[in-house]
């Protein structure tokens, strides 16, 4: 062997031996890391000390929907929001304004959906509304920096936010949030579109809009939709490339079988291995559905794939016989474009649907988003909700606030926050950790709730009188849902 080659191998061997003699960061210092995160984490006892913890908590005025009344928001009575105290050394906070950052996705959005622009519109609209009330603690709320993560730059942009130290909190909505860990480690409160459980799980400075979600919990929404339609035989669809989508399809399939005896329904097959975007179409599968007598499709796919499936159902002449359940199609422009393709299909919105136009928070949202010239879109509402939790938390923290106290306040005192009735109550003292199917209550919501709208003629229609359908979380036996509102 040539001497240089020997040298090359020797260098690599030496490197290997050196590497073998070492450990990993955090192996022996877990307690240090925990200490860092728990400065902002909820108390182990559920946040009883100093905070309120239930439906009987006093309600704040900040959402503008229930002035002077107690409610179910789980937020403490608000201090005087006009009190001004000069603060130094808090990033993004001056005597005149509180600046926030947005880290979202525009360039490189493979789904083609409106994310950054719509999300920013929602935040700006809510800030406009709050500023019209005089701002918070004598300061105006402003969007300082807006970052486009271009799908693959999230971590670098998150670090830029941390390094710049010129914004108080961060708002995030993206598909590939690789930088959430850094923001959490740096103690930056980050309110986000919480569709990614792994990136939000056990990170107590992050506030996904619905808390950290359970990936494998048996849910009753899909079996209920089947019973509504009188459907008996379902298939569940998931993408092979996405563990979330794959697990979702298996979970939905199991849930249908779980209530098989009660509702006379069954899962004919779970397709958890579909290629992203269905590049080869879905024709053979649809043919198989017809042969299996399928009349309901429970999906964990994106909205573009749902359109492809609906078109294939039309082609094979069974569109009228098979109902589609859409998880991600609450997009008015998309559905309008599709015309009557989705007639009779179900969609679940992540918040009180826009179609409940009498809902005070929806009215407020419409008023301010319209004033801002924005569109009524799911992502806009997520921005609005994220901004609302931030402002609610800020006001509850009091005029001498900083990042840690803001996080601490939300994590200890916001035990039943509903975004002014837009969602079921969230308990931030518990819901930073993903619940599991075996233990749904410790870190999950006290009820299992869903919304339901139907598509007709390229638009959404309500199915229920109240926006939410709820089941008890501690009793999985079949029962009809209770129509609920969280106003």
């Amino acid at each position: 062997m040539h001497r240089r080659t020997q040298g090359f191998i020797a260098v690599l061997l030496a490197f290997g031996l050196l590497a073998a003699a070492c450990g990993n960061s955090g192996d022996t210092e877990t307690s240090d890391t925990t200490t860092t995160t728990t400065t902002a984490a909820p108390d182990d006892d559920g946040g009883d000390d100093g905070g309120d913890d239930g439906a009987d908590d006093g309600t704040t005025d900040t959402d503008g929907t229930d002035d002077g009344t107690d409610g179910t928001d789980g937020t403490p009575p608000a201090p005087d929001r006009d009190t001004f105290v000069s603060i130094e050394g808090v990033p993004g906070v001056s005597d005149e304004e509180i600046a926030v950052a947005i880290l979202s996705l525009k360039e490189g959005n493979i789904l083609g959906t409106c994310i950054l622009d719509c999300y920013q519109t929602g935040i700006q609209a809510y800030f406009d509304y709050q500023n019209s009330l005089g701002g918070v603690f004598g300061r105006q709320l402003v969007i300082g920096d807006v970052f486009d993560d271009e799908l693959v730059q999230h971590q670098a942009k998150a670090l830029e936010i941390i390094a710049d130290e010129d914004t108080f909190v961060t708002f995030g909505a993206t598909l590939n949030p690789t930088g959430y860990g850094d923001l959490d480690d740096a103690g930056v409160p980050t309110f986000n579109w919480g569709i990614q459980a792994p990136q939000n799980n056990e990170r107590f400075n992050l506030f996904p809009h619905l808390g950290v979600l359970c990936g494998d919990c048996t849910g009753r929404a899909v079996p209920y939709q089947m019973s509504l339609k009188g459907a008996t035989t379902a298939v569940a669809l998931g993408y092979k490339i996405s563990p979330e989508s794959q697990t979702c399809s298996r979970t939905v399939g199991s849930a249908i079988d779980f209530y098989a005896d009660d509702l006379g329904i069954a899962t004919a097959k779970v397709y958890d291995d579909l290629d992203f975007g269905l590049p080869n179409g879905i024709a053979p599968q649809v043919t198989e559905w017809i042969q299996l007598g399928v009349d309901f499709v429970a999906s964990c796919l994106d909205l573009n794939a749902m359109k492809k499936i609906a078109e294939e159902l039309v082609r094979q002449g069974v569109r009228d016989q098979i109902t589609l359940q859409h998880p991600n199609t609450y997009d008015a422009a998309f559905v309008a474009e599709a015309g009557d393709l989705f007639d009779g299909d179900f969609v679940s919105a992540q918040f009180t649907p826009f179609e409940f136009t009498d809902h005070p928070q929806i009215q407020l949202y419409n008023e301010w988003v319209d004033a801002h010239g924005g569109q009524t879109a799911e992502q806009t509402m997520i921005g609005w909700m994220n901004a609302m939790l931030f402002v609610d938390g800020l006001i509850a923290t009091g005029p001498e606030f900083d990042r840690a106290s803001l996080v601490d306040t939300i994590n200890t005192e916001f035990t039943a926050h509903t975004y002014g009735g837009l969602t079921l109550p969230l308990d931030w003292s518990r819901q930073h950790v993903a619940p599991t199917n075996d233990d749904r209550l410790t870190n999950g919501a006290t009820q299992e709730c869903t919304t339901l709208v139907q598509m007709q003629g390229g638009a959404f229609e309500t199915v229920t009188d109240q926006p939410w359908l709820c089941w008890p979380q501690d009793d999985l036996s079949w029962q009809e849902p209770v129509e609920t509102t969280f106003d």
């Binding site: 080659t5 050196l18 590497a19 073998a20 990993n24 971590q155 975007g277 422009a333």
Partner: protein, 693 residues
């Protein structure tokens, strides 16, 4: 289950496979057409198709044009215009360039063209706004002639164009003078000119025709896509390569049959495999993974097991096998004084940059600089396989991902030291690289590149999904998280600076190893093989051994770099870091700058990680102007310009295969050498009379 039932299912599966098969056939025909008329294995075909489809879409839906003018604009004006521009500015000068050079340029174009179009036309995909086809109500009116499976008008139009296109193009090549001339220009432009045929005009016509076909294919394919996105076209092109390969890049009917066959194969497997798996559970792993893997397995299988395919390329390249050895590196021809000056400058420069970095850089810049250093390490793998061995590998991203996933698995399952896991990951990648090299060794040139691309897509579509690779349920709960290492008292998780220092150390070690390799037996063997394989064998060099080692070493380096990148980001982040498209961009970057030197890899790493933040976002300008407020409003410039600039830089590869940086260094070195050597000569001349006296 009756036989008749099986028969109907089978026929239905064939019919269902026909529309996607037609799409593959259209692209396969386009590949063959471009190759026959230009000699270019045109990986940018998808980009050209996408541009026409997006133009048609914009004209129809945004400008509300009717079908005919939109079609004329996108297919008969824009598409041939792009072809003519490419021919005039790029490929006219490359007729005698190697097939590999043309491939690299095509890869660069596939990166640059879509981004350039989107910037110029302000095109953005919108969810659910499906492109419409070239016939009214194309997607909503169906015909079912035999009562088994209906076709839409759009699909019938696709089939008709594919069939008629094949017939017309076949007639063009077989029965017309211009067809013969086009093929003649590809084979020997000088000979055709001697025969009085204007080679330039024929070549321009050929590019206009093939580009129009690409445009037509794009417009026809688009209605199958719910949202018009460039990456879908790239994936389709990779899949359709199998069809072109079945046609050996020269046969139009075989390309058509290959495309249809592929569509049928996928549909039949989608129909029957799941049923068989219901009866035989041991089939389940195959049913889960075979369908997405099929196109890449077919492509890979054709390349590896069909000897005729290798000969088809050789037959059209009269200079194949006679690749002059690359010229000596500029650094090896420098005057000793210049070498001293260069090294002194280098030490000073890096000391200054290092000082600034370690004392002034904030967490963001530390992250970016560390990323640049680690990417430079990965790029050294391209230095080995492309710069030294002269082979184009498009699966370096997969090798890097293997390193990253190994670290994740070892740390997650066994709580192993990540540095040890990184070395194991690199060794696993090396093993995979060596195994991969065994079947593809004989391919060489373009086919080797395509085989590695097939492997990259196979890894992306299949391997990443396995829980023992990509994490599965573990990834669902916590992502593919990777901890930082601890080395004695040094905790690399506690300080970004310490991790940067570690990354620099790894880069230096790998750089030294690569230089050792380059200057050692293997490096010299590889250089000899690039010159003449037969001559090299005659002096006892084993091509197989040398190339296997090159592949394995290259994969080892990529795996090590991938592991370091995952440790740095504390997550594998496969979709962010290691996709086939990312790896194609890596190659473009490295060969554009300098594929043969460590400096080239370093500069490519810096370009990838720092060009956007420094240049496009205006940070460098703000630093010069001493204020962010003074930076003009045009900043930040769209990140797409990065793809445009580096993609177009690859065009220079044919003229300067050593890369732009090495070319610049060589030119600068030559000028200074002349001065220094002239001074030496003067001194010697002055000394001689004195000595004589």
């Amino acid at each position: 289950m009756t036989l008749a039932f099986i028969g109907e299912d089978f026929v239905r599966a064939l019919l269902q496979g026909t529309p996607p098969g037609t799409v593959y056939a259209l692209i396969g025909l386009g590949f063959v057409l471009t190759y026959k008329t230009s000699g270019v294995f045109n990986l940018a075909f998808g980009a050209q198709a996408y541009i026409s489809a997006a133009m048609f879409f914009k004209a129809r839906q945004d400008w509300e044009w009717s079908i005919v003018p939109a079609l004329i604009l996108s297919v008969f004006v824009l598409a041939p215009a792009i072809g003519l521009v490419l021919e005039r500015l790029i490929f006219r000068n490359l007729r005698t360039a190697s097939a590999v050079s043309k491939l690299v340029i095509a890869i660069g174009l596939s990166v640059a063209l879509p981004a350039l179009f989107e910037l110029l036309a302000s095109y953005k995909p919108v969810a659910g706004r499906s492109p419409t086809g070239i016939v009214p109500d194309g997607s909503s009116v169906f015909y079912d002639p035999i009562g088994v499976y209906p076709f839409s008008r759009d699909e019938l139009a696709q089939m008709a164009v594919a069939l008629v296109g094949m017939l017309l193009l076949g007639a063009l090549f077989r029965f017309t003078a211009i067809g013969l001339a086009m093929r003649g220009v590809v084979e020997s432009p000088r000979l055709t000119e001697l025969a009085g045929i204007p080679a330039d005009r024929v070549s321009a016509f050929a590019w206009a025709v093939s580009s129009s076909f690409a445009g037509m294919a794009g417009v026809l394919i688009a209605p199958r896509l719910p949202t018009l996105v460039n990456t879908d076209f790239l994936t389709l092109v990779i899949v359709a390569m199998a069809a072109a390969a079945i046609g050996r890049l020269v046969s139009l009917p075989r390309a058509l049959a290959g495309g249809l066959g592929l569509g049928w194969l996928i549909a039949v497997s989608n129909t029957y495999l799941p049923r068989w798996a219901d009866d035989y559970s041991w089939l389940e792993p195959f049913t889960d993974n075979l369908t997405p893997a099929l196109p890449f397995l077919v492509l890979f299988g054709i390349l590896v097991f069909w000897p005729a395919i290798r000969r088809s390329i050789d037959a059209t390249d009269p200079l194949s096998g006679v690749d002059p050895p690359p010229p000596a590196l500029a650094s090896s021809t420098r005057h000793p004084l210049l070498t001293l000056q260069t090294r002194a400058f280098g030490v000073l420069f890096f000391a200054l940059v290092g000082l600034l970095t370690f004392t002034q850089a904030d967490i963001r810049w530390l992250f970016l600089i560390t990323q640049a250093v680690i990417l430079a390490t990965i790029y050294l793998s391209i230095t080995v396989i492309t710069g030294l061995a002269g082979q184009i590998s498009l699966c370096q991203g997969a090798f890097a991902a293997i390193g990253g996933f190994t670290v994740f698995q070892m740390a997650d399952r066994y709580e192993m030291s990540v540095l040890l896991a990184a070395v194991i990951g690199a060794l696993v990648a090396a093993l995979v690289g060596a195994l991969l090299s065994l079947p593809v060794l004989r391919l060489g040139g373009v086919w080797l590149a395509i085989a590695t691309l097939a492997f990259a897509f196979f890894f992306d579509a299949v391997m990443v999904q396995f829980s023992w690779v990509g994490g599965g349920g573990t990834a669902l709960l916590s992502g593919t998280e990777v901890p930082r290492p601890v080395l004695g008292p040094l905790d690399f998780g506690a300080s970004e600076r310490s991790f940067l220092a570690l990354a620099i150390v790894v880069f230096i070690i790998v750089s030294v190893a690569v230089i050792q390799l380059r200057e050692g037996t293997i490096g010299r063997s590889l250089r000899a093989l690039r010159g003449s394989e037969v001559a090299a064998e005659s002096i006892g060099i084993s091509p197989a051994r040398a190339r296997i080692i090159a592949f394995a070493v290259s994969a080892f380096i990529a795996g090590l770099g991938g592991a370091m990148l995952s440790i740095h980001q504390e997550n594998v982040n496969y979709a962010t870091n290691f996709t086939p498209f990312a790896a194609m961009f890596w190659l473009v970057l490295v060969v554009s700058l300098s594929a043969r030197t460590v400096e080239g890899a370093g500069q490519a790493g810096a370009a990838f990680a720092l060009f956007g933040p420094l240049v496009l976002e205006g940070s460098f300008l703000a630093w010069i102007l001493r204020s962010e407020e003074r930076v003009p409003d045009i900043f930040p410039i769209s990140a797409k310009w990065r793809f445009v600039l580096f993609g177009l830089t690859a065009i220079q590869f044919a003229r300067h295969p050593e890369g732009m940086v090495e070319f610049g260094k060589r030119r600068a070195t030559r000028k200074r050498n002349e001065r220094y050597f002239a001074r030496d000569a003067e001194r010697e001349a002055a000394a001689q009379p004195e000595a004589g006296a």
